[in-house]
Symmetry: D2
Subunit: 127 residues, 4 copies
């Protein structure tokens, strides 16, 4: 699943590059989109984030158009992996890639619970 990224001037640092922390925000934008559009879930997520990782491949410069791809990686009993690639839409080069681990969470019981069976198929289809 691809979507355009709408960068903001505040995303760029003194070197004219997107600041390193923003990639986790870009991942979150892709995640929220997949959550609503592919899974038809409401705005507030019912999972918690357990891990995140980013590899910085090439700095994104002011004026470049960015896009992001999100795809589901491994699906475990109570958790799953989402993988991301941020690319420059102008020349196709990879800007950054990374992943996050989500844990399905029962906010009332305050503990991880198995991913609902009905959601495993739709989750797996995000690619």
């Amino acid at each position: 699943m691809h979507l355009p990224l709408h960068t903001r001037y505040t995303d760029y640092d003194t070197k004219g590059h997107v600041n390193n922390a923003l990639y986790l925000t870009y991942f979150e934008i892709a995640r929220a989109h997949a959550w609503r559009e592919s899974l038809g879930m409401p705005d507030e997520p019912t999972f918690i984030l357990a891990e995140a990782a980013v590899r910085y491949r090439s700095p994104a410069m002011v004026g470049e158009t960015l896009e992001i791809e999100i795809r589901t990686g491994e699906i475990r009993t109570k958790a799953w992996v989402w993988e991301y690639v941020v690319r420059c839409a102008d020349d196709g080069r990879t800007i950054a890639d990374g992943m996050t681990v989500q844990v399905w969470f029962d906010y009332e019981a305050r503990k991880p619970v198995p991913i609902p069976e009905a959601l495993r198929g739709p989750l797996a289809s995000i690619r």
Copy 2:
């Protein structure tokens, strides 16, 4: 009331200046401090913000130490003004100044209500 500002690298833009929107965040830091320390209120504010204004006097550069001053301006029946000055602690020059208008708010009734009498004195003493 003066307090030091702890700027972050993400606050600076491509020109090496603190981004214009950050000053409202700096005002919020001063406001939260005054709220807790001068008024002894809990973390969650019980007012709403009605207005904010900033005048940019001199850009704040990477490496400069900043401080902020907050003082109460006019106190009306249901609203009051807080005034702010951001200064460079290294050379004393004014970086930006501005104000915000707060309205005392009953979140249950969802409407503005008069500022509690007991709070008017402490509010007035912030300077």
Copy 3:
């Protein structure tokens, strides 16, 4: 000139509202758009921001679609006013409005200079 706003989950605060400082970032997004699209200018602005003001009309909630309108107000010799309205695209209500004052700036001479004659017409046409 209208454009959609792409809010981010990080824009929302603990009350589920867009944080007050973000409106200056939204104004900046509209300004950058007008700068490039209406005026055909490069990414890096050649003006400085002198003033900004926001009036908060109604909180923007998670899940609401926002849009922003920018129009040129007064055009002086060396400065001009941009006015903004942020609306909820779902029900049309005004979320916030405000303005910024820009000063045309010669970065080499480090001083304000008159707005180029050729730019006054295009500037005035932003509405």
Copy 4:
């Protein structure tokens, strides 16, 4: 090396937790501090970030006081690892931990170069 973290109201999301992306900003704050204070380097870093990772242990709530620890991990020829732990200063629990990989970079030649010999000792002493 420990330092206090000065959280901002904008760091918290709709659940009252520090947003996941902010931890990379907190890591950056610790990194900048180590860079200037332990290594005596100027404000602008002369390295590039190659990787970052965070594990989320326990959400940080509004009103909690946070602190961060930074220590140098592995030092390779042209790169080194910094490790971070964010803790709640009130009860000592771990909020998040993680690491970043830095590459020593020649901005003129635009390529990675060996870490200066004189810096390897001071780097190793950050713990």
